[in-house]
Symmetry: C2
Subunit: 442 residues, 2 copies
Amino acid sequence: MSDGSGDGGLDGSAPSLRHLRTDLTPVVEAVEAADADAFVAVGDRFDDDLRYLTRFAGPDRAYALVVVPASDGDDATGRAVCCAPALFAEQAEREFVAGAHVRSGGEKHAGSDRDREFHDGVAREVRTENVGDHAGERAAATVAALLGESDSHADPVLLVPPSIPHDAAVYLERDGNELASTDAVTTARARKADAELDRLRRVQRATAAGMARAETVLAASGVGEDGAGRPIVRWEGAPLTTERLRREVNAALAARGVRDAGDTVIGVGPSAADLHFVGDDPIRPGETVLLDVSPRGPDGYRGDMTRTFVVDGDGGWARRAYVAVEAAREAALAEVEPGVPAKTVHGEAAAELAAYGFDPNAGEGETGFTHGAGHGVGVSLHEPPSLTGAGELRPGHVVTVEPGVYDPDVGGVRLEDLVVVTDDGYELLAEYPFGIVPEERG
Amino acid sequence: MSDGSGDGGLDGSAPSLRHLRTDLTPVVEAVEAADADAFVAVGDRFDDDLRYLTRFAGPDRAYALVVVPASDGDDATGRAVCCAPALFAEQAEREFVAGAHVRSGGEKHAGSDRDREFHDGVAREVRTENVGDHAGERAAATVAALLGESDSHADPVLLVPPSIPHDAAVYLERDGNELASTDAVTTARARKADAELDRLRRVQRATAAGMARAETVLAASGVGEDGAGRPIVRWEGAPLTTERLRREVNAALAARGVRDAGDTVIGVGPSAADLHFVGDDPIRPGETVLLDVSPRGPDGYRGDMTRTFVVDGDGGWARRAYVAVEAAREAALAEVEPGVPAKTVHGEAAAELAAYGFDPNAGEGETGFTHGAGHGVGVSLHEPPSLTGAGELRPGHVVTVEPGVYDPDVGGVRLEDLVVVTDDGYELLAEYPFGIVPEERG
C-alpha cells in the first residue's frame, strides 16, 4: 500500500543494516562502584532493559545477559555474554555481537576477538543454551565460568534489575551468589545517545504520517444520520467509527515500517476522557476525536503524539479547551531546558490551564487536567524522566509534553509532542500542525 | 485502506464489545489442592498469564491479581482483586470486572455484587493503587485484607507463577507469606474454551489475508536486473525487497484490525533458512521466499501461518523440498487427534522428510529439518503443548503444524497452519491454498 520510501516515514534501509549499539560502560562502572562481581539480567523479548542492553530482539522465553568487568591486566574493559536459546543463536550473533547485517549462507561472522569489541571495550559473545535449561540456570553457570576464569570470588555479589524473574533469582542465589538490585540501566536509558535520537526521530516522523492519515480521513468525512435519526460522521459510504479510523492509522503506520503496538488510542466524546480507551464508538459531529498514536519502530524505539479534532463543530467547550491546552503546551515547552526541575514543566502547564478556568489537579474521572504533563520515551513508551517526578532535565532526555483537559460528560482535548532536551533548550522530534478543524494532509 | 468489514478479517464489532471471560475455577482449585491461601500474579501488560486471567490489557508497569477461595459458608466460589494503577481504573473495571463496554460519562458500572460474579462464581473487583506504590506491596496488602476478612491465617501460603518479579516476591515474603510456585495457569491456558477458539479463528483469518496480500504482490512482480546485471524481482517499478513485502503484509493486517507484533518474518534464499530473520534483502528469481505471519488480535490471541513461494523458479532444490514438506505436513496432520502423544506428530513429519532424503534431526545452521513440528498458540505465540514435548493431545489444544527443510546455502521451505484438536481429529483454524508459484489472491 506504499512503496516504503515515502516522506515522513522511515527510510528504506533495513533495520538490521543500521548499527545500534549500547555503551555498556555504565553497567561495568555500576558493578565496580558497588564492589560487586557481575551484572545479570534475565527476561524475554518484552523486557525493555534487555532489549536496550543487548539490541537483541530476543525470543519470547527467558534469556540472560551477564556482564563482568575485566580483571586487572586484561586489555578489555569487560566481557558480556548473551545466553540465548540455540534456535536464536544466529539472530543473537547478528544483533548482539556483530551489531550489523550478517548475510547467512557462507558469510558467517568470523572476526577476531578484536572485531567483537565495541568502543566501550566490552567483548561480546553469545552462548547457546540447551533447550529446556532455565535461563537463570544458564546465567548462574555463565557467572561461575566467567568469574572462575579470573580472580577467585568466594561469595560473588551480582547486581540485578529489581524485577528480575523470581525463579531466575532463586537459581542465582542457590549457586552461591548474593543479589543486589541496581538502577544503573534505568539511569543509563534516560539520556539518549545520538543513534537513539536518530531512531526516535524516524519513528516520530512515521507517527506523524499515521496522524496525517487520520486527519485526512476526518477532513474527507461528511455528516449523515444513523438509524435513530441522530447525526453521525460518515466516510466512504459508511459510518465512521473509532475502530475504522484506528485501522486506517495502523495501516499507514505499517506501510512506513513501524507497528501500532496495540496502543493507538482513539476516543470520541465522553470516551476521549478515558485515557486508555480502545473501543468502537460511532464518531459524531461536534464531539472531540482524540487520537493518541504511539507506534514502535524496528529497533524498539517508540513514537508518541496526540492531536484532537472535531468534525463539524460549533465551538463551545471543545474550542475553549483547545485554546487552553495550546496555551498550556506553549507555557510548558518554554520551560524545557537543562537544569530545570522536571516538575516545573508540569507546573507551568497546570498553571496555564488553571488560568483558563480548568482544575489543574483533577482526579481520574473528574473534570480538568487529570494526568501528568509528560513522561520519558525510549525503548519503553513510559520511562524516566517523568515531568511530575524528582530531578532536573538534562541534555538527551526525551519527553512528551502533553497537557490535556477532560470532561467525562463531554469529551477531552490533549495535544502531545515529543521533544529532546538539548544543550540550550529543546528540539521537537517531529512537527505536526495544530487546529481543531481537520484538514487534508497529503 | 479497508472499510473494516471485508471477508477473511475480523468482523466489525469492537474488541471491547465481545465478551471474553476466563474461568478462574482452576486457579481456585489449585489453591485449595495445595492447601494454600491465595494465588498472586504480578506483571505488566506483556505478561500473558495476567492477560489471560484478567482480560485486562493493562499498563506498561506492574499490576497485580489476587485470587482467594471463598471461606466456608460464603455464597461465592472466591474473590479476585485486580490491583491496578488509578489511571487505569476505568479500563480495569471495563475489561476485568464488567467484561463489556462501559460507555463513560454517567453510565459507570454500578451493578450489585451479584452482577460482578461470572459463571465461575468468583467475584471480581478492582482496587486502585496510589501512584508510586509497588504492585508487590499492593498485592501483599490486598492478600492481608482478604485473608483477614475471613479465617485467621497465621502463615499464609501463596501460589505464584514461577517468573513473578523478584521484587514483588520479596514484598510478599516480607509481609509474612510463604511462596510456592504453580503451573495451574499454564495448564489452564493450554486447552482453549469456545470463546478463545472464536478469537483464534478470527485472527487466523486475518493472518490468511496478510498472506494473500504477499502472494498477490509476488504474483504481480516481474524480473529485471540490478545495477550489477544480476536478475532481481521487481514490483511496481522498483526492486522488491523483503522489507517492502513485509510492509505490505503488515498494512493488510492492520487494515483488518490485527497487528504484526514485530513478528512478520520474511526470508529469501539463504536468509529463509534463518528462523528469525527480519532484514531487508532483495528478492531474486528462483530463490525461496518464506513468509511466517503471526499477528496479534485485539484480545491478545495470535495467528500463525507460513507459506513459501518462488518467483520465476526452475524447479530444483526448492520444488523437491516443497513436495517433501507438503507430504510431511499431511503425515503430521493425519496423526492429530486426542490421546495421541504430541511427539508422534513431530515424529511422523520427521519420518516423512527422511523418506524424501532430508536429515530429520539437523542442528541449527545445518541442512534438513532443524526445528520442532509445532507448538501451542494462544495469548502467547509459543505456549504448551509442544509437539516435541511430553504429554498427549487433548481436545481444545491449539497447535501449529509446521514442517520445514532448510539448506543454509540455498534457502528454506516451511508450510505452517494452525489447528485445534477436536473430539475426533482436528480442524484447521483457517484455510489457505498451497503452491510454490505465487498466484493472485482476492
